[in-house]
Point group: C2
Chain length 478, copies 2
Amino acid sequence: MKPSIPKGTRDFSSQEMVKRNYIFDTIREVFRNYGYLPIETPSMENLDTLMGKYGEEGDKLIFKILNSGDFLDGLKDKDTKEMGAKEMTKYISEKALRYDLTVPFARYVVQHQNDITFPFKRYQIQPVWRADRPQKGRYREFYQCDADVIGSPSLLNEVELIQMIDDVFGKLNVPVIIKLNNRKILQGIAESIEAPEKMIDIAVAIDKLDKIGDDGVRKELIDKGFDNARIDKLLKIILDKSIVSVGDFNFEVSHNINESDARLAVLASKINSDGTFLLPEVFVKGKNELGYIVHNVKKLVSSIKIEVDLSLARGLNYYTGTIIEIQVDRSRCKSEFTSSICGGGRYDDLTGIFGLPNVSGVGISFGADRIYDVIEELNRFPQSVSSSTKVMFVNFGNNEAQYCLPLVSELRKNNISAELYPDAAKFKKQMGYADDKKIAYVVFIGGDEMSKGVLKLKNMTSGEEKEIKSDELIKHIV
Amino acid sequence: MKPSIPKGTRDFSSQEMVKRNYIFDTIREVFRNYGYLPIETPSMENLDTLMGKYGEEGDKLIFKILNSGDFLDGLKDKDTKEMGAKEMTKYISEKALRYDLTVPFARYVVQHQNDITFPFKRYQIQPVWRADRPQKGRYREFYQCDADVIGSPSLLNEVELIQMIDDVFGKLNVPVIIKLNNRKILQGIAESIEAPEKMIDIAVAIDKLDKIGDDGVRKELIDKGFDNARIDKLLKIILDKSIVSVGDFNFEVSHNINESDARLAVLASKINSDGTFLLPEVFVKGKNELGYIVHNVKKLVSSIKIEVDLSLARGLNYYTGTIIEIQVDRSRCKSEFTSSICGGGRYDDLTGIFGLPNVSGVGISFGADRIYDVIEELNRFPQSVSSSTKVMFVNFGNNEAQYCLPLVSELRKNNISAELYPDAAKFKKQMGYADDKKIAYVVFIGGDEMSKGVLKLKNMTSGEEKEIKSDELIKHIV
C-alpha cells in the first residue's frame, strides 16, 4: 500500500509552511492593528446549525460526521428500505465540519451575546471544508481569514475594512483592484423595471455589456423572460453615466444611515426631476452609501485601485448593502489570476437565523490559499521568508559533541536557532544536510579547537571561514 | 432553537485566545530555536491510514466522515440486513479525522521520503479529534504540539528534546518533573523472569510498590498468574538499588548505539559476575541509554526535576527505547494536577506500518489544553498577555470622525493598534467599550481641538488626561 491523502487535501512541507505563515502573519498583524481580536470556533458544528444556510447545493457540499458508537442505533424502528441518503443522514449524523467561518460566527455571537461588548470586532483564521469537486486552485480543506464587525451600522466600518485590504496587499506586494457595489443599487434597478426578483439576471447582463453590446444584452434578457419595454428602461439606466457613476456623485451625507433618510428622499426626487426615471429610494440609498465609502477611502489608501462595478453580485443571499471583491490587478503585474482573492460585504440580519434579529454587520474574508498561489506565480515571496536553523555544529564524535552542547544552548538562549548534528556521520553527509536546510553558519570544533578554546565558523553564503574564540561566537552571527 | 456546539468541543473567546496563543507561541519559539521546522497534514486522512493503528478501542474513537454525494451507492448489491455498524462503515465512509499527529507524520515521511533530508526534524501544531466521552479536562477536539526527529538513532536527540521541555516549562513558569524510563529496561526485567509478554503487568506492579509494599505487589502479581519464584526474582531486581538506580550508574559509552554493542555485552557480563542475576543484554542496553541521557541532561537543564521511574509504561505499543512523561511538580507549586501534560519517546519502526522499515525516531508531544488549565490554576499567565487595541478615538460625529481617520492610520502605520469608535454613540457607551476592551489610551477630538490642531489623550490605567499637539501623538503612546 502506497500511502496517500484524500483528494482535494494537501500536505504542507516546511518550505510551504513558512510561506503560508508569512501570509497568515501579515493578515493577522493588520487585523490586530485595526483593533480586531481573535476568536476560534470548533471544527465541528451541530448539523442543524449548518444545514439550510448555504442553499440546497451548499447542503450537499457539507462534510457530515458519522455518529460515534453504533450509529445504526439511530435507524432502529425506522423503515430504511425506501430511505434515501439525504433522509438517512439525519439519523446517523449529528455533526458536520464547518463550511465557512461566517455562519459559525453568527452562531457564536448569538450564543455568547451576553458576554460580548458591541460593536464586536473579531477576526478568525481557521480552515473550512467543502466537498467540492477538487480542481486546480480549489481544495476540500482550505483556510479563511475573516474580519467582521457586528453591531454597528456605520459606513466607517466599510472604510476601515477597505483600508485593511489595502494594507494587507500592500505588505504582500500584490497589486489589486477592489471592486465595489451595493446590493441596494441592484435592488433599486430591479425594482425600477418592476422585476425585483430578477436582481441576479440583471447583474449578469450588466456584466456582459462591454463584451456583447446592447443587442446581446437585450437578446439574453428576452431569453430570461424580460419584455422590450423593461429592457429599454434598464439599458437607459445603465448607460446613463450621470445616474450610475459614483465618482461624479458629489454629495454630503451623515455617515449614520438613519439620520440621512430625509436627505436621501430629497436626492431621490432631484434625480427624478432631472432625468427620466423615478428611481426607487433604495437605489439612491445604495448609491449614497457607495459614494460615502469611495469618497473617504480615496484619501486613505495607497496601493489598491478602486472600481465601482454594478455587475458585482457576490453572495447576494445574505448581503444587504456594500459588496466588496478583490482581484489581482493584471494591468500592474504579469498574472493569469482572474478569480477573486478576497471579498466581503454588509449583512443586516445574519444573526437573525439564530434568533437575534436586526444586528447589522460587515466583514471581509481573505482566501489565503489563492493569495499563496498568486504570490508564488508572481515570485514575490521575500527572500527573508525562511525559518530554518541559523547555526549548525558539525558532530565529530561523542567527546566533541558533548563539548559543543553548552555552546549550542548558549545560542538558543539568545534566540538564535541552532542545532548539533545528532550523529557522528560522514562530513560530506553533514554538510549536505546544512546545504539542504539552507543553514546560514556551520561551526567546526574538533580535538584541536577544543584544546585551544576556539572554533571554526563557516559562512555558508559567502563560503568564508574564520577561527574565533568559542566564547565570542554570538558576536559573529548576524 | 438556542444555538449550541457539539459536546466536548469549545468556542474560544478573545481573552482565551490570547492566552492560548501565548502557549503556542512559546512552544513554537522553542521548537524553532532547536532547528525543528513546521509541517502540516490534512485534517482528514484516508480511513485505512488510521484504522488499526491505535488498538481496537482507538478504532472506535476515530471520527469517520460520511462519503459525500449519495453515500448509499457504496451499499448497492450488499445485503445490509445483518450488517453491523463496523462493517457498514467501510462502505459509507472513506475518510476520517486524524486521531493524533504521530500516525499522519509517519504517513507523511513515507509518502515524501524522496523529498526529505534526514535526519528530519519537524514540528507540528494542529488539532486532533477523538470520540472520547467528554469530561473535565478531556475534549473531543484538542491541540497537540509535536516535535520529532526521524532518521537518527543518536541519544543526543533525547537530550535535546528534554532540553526543549526544560525551556518550554521554564518560559511558561510551570515547575515540572520529567519522568524517564526505557522500554528496554522493562523488557529486560520481563525477560529475566521469563515473562516477556507481561511487561505492562510488571510496570503496573512496580508502580504500586510504595503504596502497597512487597506483600501487596506479590498478591497482585499472583492474581495475574505469576508464580512465587518469579515474583521473588522480580522483587530482588527492583529492590536492589545497585541494579536499577541510574544515577549511580557511572559508565562511558559511545552515543552511537550500534558502535557500543560490544561494550554493552561486556557490561552485561560484569553485572552478572558482580551480582546474582544474569540480566539480559537488553536490560543493560536500556539502562545504558538512560544513564547517558541523564548524565548529559543534568548539565544542561535548569528548571525541571529529573526522575527515573521504572513503572512508567506510557504508550508501550510503539515505543522501543526512551519513554518520557512530564507532570506538574506539586512539591513546588499549589496544583491539583496529576495527569501528564507532555510526553514522548523513541520508536524504532513507526514508519514500518507504511512500508519504510528500520527508521528510528524520537519525539515529544505537548498537551496545550492541559498546560492551559495548569497555568490558569496556578494563575501564572503574565499580565502582558493581551492583544487588545492600544488607542481608541472617541467618535463625536461625522466631521470629527473624518478628521480623525488619518491620525488613526498614522498610528497603525507605526504598528500601534488603533481604532475609531464607528458610531457617534453616547459618550458613556463609547467609554464603556474602551473599558471592556481594556484599551490603554483614549483620544478625544471635538470641534475645539480640531480648530487648535490638538487632542486630549487619556491614559486609561492612571486616569491622567493631557492636551497635546495632534502630530505628537505617537511620542506619547508607550
